[in-house]
Symmetry: C2
Subunit: 711 residues, 2 copies
């Protein structure tokens, strides 16, 4: 039964998306006779952009607008309507949605504003609830509209369709969407669909990404995001997407987060968590508008860059040197070409050229030199990717150079080698660049732009490989963990004591030192001899969180006398510290030998849910903030990538003559803890294993202290 | 006498620069009748660009080119010639220079190639020597030429003059210069002079910066640098420059450095040293071409940003949020505006706008709203800088917005508040932007660009203030230091022993623990009681560098018995380690109590000479590479800025409940060491004080180990 409902929901969703993006007929509810009105502009824009489907203006007071028959109510339209554009004032929107539902329209784009963006949350909820009654999906409200290049349909109040191409662009800012629309013509950013997503009352980023992933007109999906309503679903959909996704998440600075929150009411998470979440879902991050355009250009036109060998061909030493700096910046290793490839390149340059990488065919390089060099490069199996740079000269013609490159690419017919091109120069270069883009070759105005595009193609290949490593759950005792939590809840507590937290960890297979709660001195002595000396003793009381501050911790106790004295001292200190504290007893544990201090932790991210965090302990975390994040759960391979992201990773690999640490044990523990916080996400708010002492390779680790806070 | 020579040299230099950049007459030696020849193009370009001065083509075989009388030799020209453009093949260049010298030409731009760039170093030297005989200065060889917008004189083979403006642009890559020339018209990068600097056989970056600093047509100097011939002189000149300098140093990556070296034969230093050197000389760094253009735009049109309060005015939440992220990226603190300013802003927006910073006047913001908001902002004394953002909308006109902003700026007539503007949109925005630039207002296509421009203006203000702190030498005993070094050299050594190095440090006022060389057990016992127990003992032998490896160090010796045993053990170990080692004895020093471990060091940079380096010890330096650099010498204030640049600085400020460390002692030691390496730069190659143990505030520091290697 559940499955059937899901299937129907799935079908309904795809039907709704079809009618949103491939409508054969569109009703404009609120079409206006006033040329200054948005209801007029939307209809006029649809006509002007060349839409071939049927258009039905709806207005109770008009009979004809722009030469098209007007219906007084959407229900009066005799034919089927795929998409409804709602442009009426907010107060009339509910009735319009009701009417559209009755008419059986599957998708509505609600351009009208005046909903949650100005605090009218109830009205927005009513809008969605009304639509839901009829199984109608809503895009918006508070949007610019939907701009559809394949259908030549500008169903929006943006003045014209964007430059035609293969990237779907979704923007959470309407103003920005109009700006990018116009800008797309300047920089030849090829766009298939442009969607203003507005308040995301119903349709959200995940829905759209899901649709565009199977849209034949779209090769990449480009997003301007201020915040998610359901970040985790977005990640899941993105991970499954067959098309690259590029995301500019704004509001990542402290003040930017506040600005974004006041702009769209979305909660913004930390930039580190976003970067991690995106990487896990093979979403390519962009950090400003130009970055978004540069990366979209490459990913919408070129295949991913598998392998690591980029050959750079240039006519100028200067741009060559700059591309080398940029390669390092974007994580592209630029290595010497093999001798036979160098020998091939030598043929296409004068004596004073250079066949090294960058290959400098010099300022004399003309159409034929470029043609030959590119063709030879693409024929060589060392070359995984190609960056072609040109600097305008007095003697050569950018158009001809572009032609030479393009001919070589077409003739080589190698589909899997990505190419990025930069021409530094004036109008002739810009025009040649536009022609290159038309021919499917990404063009940039600077070498840095081309390397950035190539960097995005390489990131996409790497992230895709990483994302293919599915998380396989470890065998754990989830029930034991839940039982401990239930017992704590029963006592009305929301913080576990250290022994309780350690038992939860142990249920998830995390190594903890041998230890036990002792309720009196005799028990303490017994436990100490069981777990073996030396031991550590710590006060156990729900009321005493900072055990050391309370004088409640004694370490390196070597004899029964030490234990006896420590027990008395600890309990006395605790009573002095907080007379009302409910003292469970003293935890006696074997003292773990010292090793490399690390921290594994978790918090619940407002947008993505449970995360896992890893870092080296002490100054590394406290002063250098040297930590890495992932959204939980993650497998051990991903934990390995995550661990290697911290700057202090060399410490684990063994530095200053020290032996390699047990990195395998670390990544296993990170993966297990990520499973713990994911499995128990309805119970657990925060988890910390701090410190986790890591030993030499093969010798494991030990979670020395543990903390779990419940929701 | 010396002073007079200097004065004459100074005058000659300025004369030469005058004739290079303000020539009333130009001879083209090697003018050609062949329209494909560079010698033809240069003459033709001068004519076409509208040069009003006299032109003298020189060619032994022609009588007229482009309708101008040709002289068979430059010496035959009857009138005075200010500038000679040499375009003859390399093999004829020496004779051409000789002739020009005889003719009394003060400046030559040698376009001809075929010199050191292809290994013909001797020919290049001959070129310079020949010119020097006549006091003639040479720009080049191997250049594109000199493009002069104020004189409308394109004396180059680049096809046309750049977009007219106030930035002088100097490029070490000729190809790139032609590319930028063309590009300047696209992005309206306003350029006064464009200079191809080529092989820098004579005139170098410093000469040109010196000239443009006093050129009335130039407001900023923009440099594309692959490497210097005399980096230190450049820094000195840059520091004195009255105009902002923006430098794109390419070849900063590992591979980029190698590529740059093979391209121009220049040595490239590390990026960290460049960044430090530039900052010290108030040179603004740019990291790629777009960055160079963005920063040049701001610095050539606007005053520096003193103070820290930037107000952002925008019509779109999206661009507002992005500008906030960018502000953080470029180190601009964006703070809430005071209430009265907010109240002023409130008047220029609808109900749903926001008077916070960014001020969102909403998509309804038109010419009048922008005009009023900008005018009010400029009238408020809280505002130190203004960033105005606009996102293209269907209802507003970019031209009118630009007009509104510009009117407000002109009427406000506030000269000291810098402004940067971004319009996101299409052709209408680009055109409005070009108009803004013509009116002296920097325009950018993205909010990030505008914030980058503003960031450069703020950096310039900060660096200028820092550079105003002159280095005042400490009272030191330079002679004592030189005497020790002389004694070491006399023994044929180039490494000082630890006691010798410490004495040099002590001569420069660096605190070292009490200690003395002991040549036998009795002396060791005597020294130990003099310096006070506990003591450390270390072997002293020029042949034993790694004292610990040789078993040559014993610490924490508390009694005469300890000292006696240690002496015997250390000397025995040393003999075992290296039987041929010349053992001076054992150094006995008071054991400095432990504190915070730091390192102060110095190396000689290939481009800039002696540097000083500071970092926290241990993992901070070895794993995190957390160090900062300066070119020596530096004063204590600069040392303070330098120290605060390391990520671990918080450790010195006191973290994790620890007390503040003696940062004043640290910066004093850094400054003194910088003076040491600068004073002794002819003697000393490398210096290390490692570790330097720093104590609590007011308790100083101690240089525990010292190393000095001579040149």
């Amino acid at each position: 039964m559940y499955l059937i409902v899901l299937c129907i929901r799935g079908l309904t969703h795809m039907d709704a998306m079809q009618s949103l993006f491939r409508p054969e007929s569109i009703a404009v509810i609120g079409a206006s006779r006033d040329p200054k009105g948005i209801g007029y502009q939307c209809l006029k824009n649809m006509i002007d952009s060349g839409y071939k489907g049927k258009m039905y203006p709806v207005n109770p007071k008009a009979d004809e607008i722009c030469g098209i028959k007007v219906y007084h109510n959407v229900t009066e339209i005799p034919e089927k309507v795929d998409l409804g554009l709602i442009v009426v004032p907010a107060k009339f929107a509910i009735q319009a949605v009701e009417d559209c539902g009755k008419k059986g329209i599957k998708s509505l784009a609600v351009i009208s504003s005046g909903f949650s963006e100005i605090g009218n949350d109830d009205l927005e909820k009513q809008l969605v609830d009304t639509a839901a009654k009829y199984g109608t999906r809503i895009l918006g409200p508070n949007i610019v509209g939907v701009l559809n290049n394949p259908l030549k349909c500008n169903a929006s109040f943006a003045p014209y369709l964007p430059y035609h191409g293969t990237a779907a662009l979704i923007s959470q800012s309407g103003a920005l969407l109009i700006g990018i629309d116009a800008r797309s013509w300047i920089d030849k950013i090829g766009i298939s669909h442009m969607v203003s997503i507005g308040n995301m009352a119903d349709v959200d980023f995940a829905d759209l990404v899901e649709f565009f992933s199977s849209d034949k007109d779209t090769q990449a999906v480009s997003l301007y995001i201020e915040g998610f309503k359901n970040g985790r679903r977005f990640l899941e959909v993105a991970k499954k997407s067959s098309k690259p996704i590029i995301a500019l998440k704004s509001g990542v600075s402290k003040r930017g987060a506040a600005a974004a929150a006041s702009h769209t009411g979305s909660l913004a998470g930390s930039s580190k968590v976003y970067d991690a979440a995106f990487r896990q879902s093979k979403v390519i991050s962009a950090h400003d508008l130009d970055d978004l355009f540069e990366r979209t250009m490459a990913l919408s036109l070129q295949p991913p860059m598998h392998g690591k060998n980029v050959l750079v061909i240039t006519n100028g030493g200067g741009v060559g040197v700059m591309s080398t700096d940029s390669a390092e910046k974007y994580g592209i290793p630029l290595e010497d070409a093999p001798e036979d490839l160098k020998a091939m390149m030598r043929k296409h340059m004068p004596e004073f050229g250079s066949p090294k990488n960058p290959v400098d065919i010099t300022g004399q390089g003309d159409r034929h030199h470029y043609y030959n060099a590119v063709k030879d490069a693409l024929s060589h199996n060392w070359v995984d990717a190609l960056v072609v740079l040109y600097c305008e000269t007095s003697l050569t013609n950018p158009d001809e150079i572009a032609q030479g490159i393009c001919d070589a690419v077409k003739e080589a017919n190698v589909r899997k080698i990505p190419i990025a091109i930069s021409f530094v120069g004036g109008e002739r270069c810009i025009n040649a660049g536009a022609w290159l883009v038309k021919n499917g070759l990404p063009y940039y105005k600077t070498p840095d732009g081309a390397m950035n595009g190539m960097g995005a193609l390489r990131e996409y290949a790497i992230y895709s490989e990483e994302a293919a490593n599915e998380f396989k759950p470890w065998k754990v005792d989830k029930k034991a963990a839940l039982d401990i939590i239930a017992a704590v809840r029963k006592e009305g507590r929301n913080a576990l004591t250290e022994p309780e937290a350690k038992l939860v960890f142990a249920a998830y297979g995390l190594p903890i030192p041998k230890g036990k709660l002792a309720r009196n001195v005799e028990e303490a002595l017994k436990v100490a001899s069981e777990v073996a000396y030396p031991v550590v003793m710590k006060i156990v009381s729900p009321e005493i969180i900072h055990k050391s501050d309370a004088g409640g911790v004694k370490v390196n106790l070597k004899t029964p006398e030490d234990v006896r004295a420590a027990y008395d001292l600890i309990t006395a200190n605790a009573r002095k510290y907080n007379a009302k504290a409910n003292i469970h007893g003293v935890y006696v544990q074997n003292m773990a030998p010292w090793g490399t201090e690390t921290i594994i932790g978790s918090t619940n991210d407002a947008q993505f849910g449970p995360t896992v965090m890893f870092g080296l302990g002490g100054v590394f975390v406290e002063v250098m903030k040297d930590v890495s994040f992932r959204i939980a759960p993650i497998g051990q391979k991903e934990a390995q990538t995550m661990a290697s992201e911290i700057k202090g990773y060399k410490i684990l690999e063994g530095t200053r003559g020290e032996k390699r640490k047990d990195i395998n044990a670390v990544t296993e523990a990170v993966s297990k803890l990520s499973q713990l916080v994911h499995d128990l996400q309805n119970e657990v708010a925060e988890v910390d294993a701090n410190p986790v002492i890591v030993y030499e390779d093969g010798k494991g680790l030990s979670v020395v202290d543990a903390r779990i806070i419940l929701k």
